[in-house]
Amino acid sequence: MALSGMRGLSVFISDIRNCQNKEQERLRVDKELGNIRTRFKSEKGLSPYEKKKYVWKMLYIYMLGYDVDFGHMEAVSLISAPKYPEKQVGYIVTSCLLNENHDFLRLAINSVRNDIIGRNETFQCLALTMVGNIGGREFSESLALDVQKLLLSSSCRPLVRKKAALCLLRLYRKNPDVVNIDGWSDRMAQLLDERDMGVLTAVMSLLVALVSNSHDQYWSCLPKCVRILERLARNHDVPQEYTYYGIPSPWLQVKTMRALQYFPTVEDPNTRRSLFEVLQRILMGTDVVKNVNKNNASHAVLFEALSLVMHLDAEKEMMSQCVALLGKFIAVREPNIRYLGLENMTRMLMVTDVQDIIKRHQAQIITSLKDPDISIRRRALDLLYAMCDITNAKDIVEELLQYLSAAEFAMREELALKAAILAEKFAPDLAWYIDVILQLIDKAGDFVSDDIWFRVVQFVTNNEDLQPYAAAKAREYLDKPALHETMVKVSSYLLGEYSHLLARRPGCSPKEIFSIMHEKLPTVSTTTLPILLSAYAKILVHSQPPDPELRDQVWAVFNKYESCIDVEIQQRAVEYFVLCRKGAALVDVLAEMPKFPERQSALIKKAEDPETDAAEQSAIKLRAQQQQPSNALVVTDQPPSNGPLPVGPLTLAKIPSISSNVETSLSDERLSHENGTFGAVDDSQSAMPSEGLIGDLLAIEGPAAAVTTEQKPVSGLESVVGGVDALALAPVSELSNSVQPIGNVAERFHALCLKDSGVLYEDPYLQIGIKAEWRTHHGRFVLFLGNKSTSSLASVKALMLPPSHLKIELSVVPDTIPPRAQVQCPLEVVNLRPSRDLAVLDFSYMFGTTLVSVKLRLPAMLNKFLQHISLSTEEFFPQWRSLSGPPLKLQEVVRGVKPLSLPEMANLFNSLHLTVSPGLDPNPNNLVASTTFYSESTGAMLCLMRIETDPADRTQLRMTVSSGDAALTFELKEFIKEQLVYIPLPAPVPSPAQPQVSSPPIDPTDPGAILAGLL
């Protein structure tokens, strides 16, 4: 046992160790602290040795967990001591006791800077270490330049430079501007040539931080990283001291592969080939060995390689190798490997389409959900959540529910939330969804947030078929002896609304329902009581013929709560009591709640973005964000509505003639507003979608609140009643005239040109949503045909009219769509050659006696077959020069351009899959972009373009487009031109031929309208 070399310190530590109990220890510590305090305060100064000794003691006491609220000054002052031993103590203790926000640190900045720029290497190291460990913004501002100098210096030893690299990394994290200087990226590339492995390791950490923020400037580092990785993986020229259990620095290998994951692709074929060779070696050559350290180190490298392979979108073969490896890992005994297998499978699902292969391991994964180790259970839960889809939702959710009762506290909330979301997202039918949520509330009520049960109410309210079922279920649960309060809430809400639908069943008379609900009343809190009161009032209204006994009981309850101290309860009791005496009027007031407008589930938002806090953004997440988010459509009759559109009107390419009553009649959705009759309703309709994007229904409009709105003044109520009447009385003939689309069809189409999922068309009865995926020259659409109405849509016909360059296969569309059902029809597209022509979907159906027929443009535009590619200067210009002149390179001066700023134009280009490379063109008014076009005839074809703008006149520009195919160059040029040129939409022509009697464009029972009326 080595002693500290400071007798006083060793004695003190021994004393502490000899203390019999905590009390003695405290006494000894207090005595020492008193001693130190007097010594620090005493008139005659301390010798440097004494100072050092006391400061160490302080640190020791601090480590024992005692508060040390003095002596910071002494510690900081040691930093400016002239000799190493005191200085060292000063630096170390300061970095332990203080953090970057501490005021005392400012006092030290000058001394620290002097040490950094001074000649003493040891002092430089101490200073860099402290700044690297606790430096804050102020350090960043005053020291960054000096630290950079040390890192780049050729005269400093590697010892200093590696510290400088990491110190700079710290300063960069505090303030990214520290490397915001010309040529820093070149310096980074040079630093990667470093021979010293210590410096290289530190520099690689710095690079990871830089590229995780933005990789743009650092393309030149990419081949160097690949070379470093090659060198390590082949064990070329790696000093013995940097091999760890026979593996050349596993940490540097991991870091290097991490850095590579922040570059979107590896374009250069040679670099790509070498990288894949290395990765292949790692994937194939990692064996399980006995030595645990060697095993861990090699698997650390292997798992990082797996991430990199996933990121690079390797060939199918390599991907399946990865999946096979992971499949092996999740079945092994070794817990760490199993954990990582599960974790990486989840990551893999985020980036590639391997769902089907992973599903084969479902049983194995479920076993891990029952592992004794919570870490493994968590990973299994994440994976089950990620792999769940419509085919396995039932199994997985039921597995989760079963596990819920056994799961410990720490996991229940997450489990409950995830089960609820999966049930909502992938419900094979809605009754099952209700079952799942009620079970969830029953088993883990404490962990079921209000959001979850609000959502149930919303579904039930919007689906009439479901109402009797839900009411019956609620009734069953009320029979249970011990009921969670949330269950009381949801059951009484549902029974209040729908118990009359059960009236003929045994035990379901209004009186029986009331009494069983009333049994729960003494046990509930003030948040549930109002729901019970509303339910009583509703039950009373629905009891036909009136039951005087029930009436008296309910009135007695209202009477009792009229003087309740809780205002909400009191108000309800008073109002219901008075209303009850109004007789017939009560029926209107307490009618069933209208449907809720569909909004995106708050739950899904909540679960899909867990709070994370990491020094570097996750590469996978970045990548997932770059890809089009897959918009899982919920099984409802109405997927979320579209938001405002990001770009202005686009010009229309050669569209096969569109004869549509739709296209013209809907050119202005405000038409009916001008006509006046349905003004209020219409307005609220147009206001609704945007509102849907901002606030979530659940947040502003829980069912409990919905009940109170009923009590608001009469004007709102009238519109409810009037609305219902209008619907009920509207004769069929009035509807047959024309069915108006909801929203602007042209705008919907244009929005879909830039994104891959959304609503293509909507009218009062039908909604067509689409979701598309594109891979090279293949595309796959799914049409979601949703019947919004309560009767079937018949004679449904869909016909594709493809232009000559697209091969389109539409699967069979069913002849009828049942009420409130959604049908999915896949559609395959193959792009044969470049063309701007568009495909048209001729769609028709019968609603009652009304034939509705629309022709819709399918957003299979030229840009969907483009894929982002970014090129470096070295890659771009040779290509650009090699394509000289027409017909491969075409130039045109375009006038009448929409006045876009350059960033706006760059955004537009990027959303069209044209990758803008800033800085490639030295002229800041120019814009250079590249992309890859895919079609059967051209294969993958690189396209380059340059836009030269005139800052004085934004309405004109010169455009040059080039590619290896003349037709492609022409079509692409025309396509981009169409995106840039401003062609105003035809002015809306108010058509007198549109009679007011034409059916209102929206369902008059729409609660959005009613709500807007109330608000």
Binding site: A2, L3, M63, Y84, P85, I92, T201, N336
Partner: protein
């Protein structure tokens, strides 16, 4: 990035605590308490990784001492697990056959070694030889 490193014995006494993120005193005590509770009861047959708030703790037990590193969720677990082992090997080499008492009486040396090994929450030097030699240089200057 490493958020903090803790060396704690089974009773929860902190033998070394190094934070690379600014935390308040009270928060540090809480963290040390929670991490100890989190790792001490785990079965040796379990994984060496455990979620801790929005991060994860990679830990390893050597005799009665727990070495814990708190890292980002996205970090490579096994790389940090072996990082712990490398640190232990360095301590073992430096103290020739290290035991808890060495770390108690020489806690200031442990801080010095750690500063040569990890900086700014990132691995600085992975050569045991380089670190041991550097410690020799520093001892000469004392």
């Amino acid at each position: 990035m490493i958020r903090f490193i803790l060396l704690q014995n089974r009773q929860g006494k902190t033998r070394l605590a190094k934070y690379y993120v600014p935390l308040e005193e009270s928060e540090k005590h809480k963290v040390e308490y929670e991490v100890h509770r989190l790792v001490v009861n785990r079965d040796p047959k379990f994984t060496n990784f455990v979620e801790f708030r929005t991060h994860k703790v990679i830990y390893r037990r050597y005799a009665g001492l727990f070495f814990s590193m708190c890292v980002d969720i996205t970090d490579n677990e096994l790389a940090y697990l072996e990082c712990i082992h490398l640190f232990v090997e360095i301590l073992d080499h430096f103290f020739s056959n290290v035991c808890e008492l060495d770390l108690v009486f020489n806690f200031h040396k442990v801080y010095l070694i750690l500063d040569e090994f990890i900086l700014a929450g990132e691995l600085q030097e992975t050569s045991k030889k380089a670190i041991i030699e550097r410690m020799g240089e520093l001892e000469k200057q004392e």
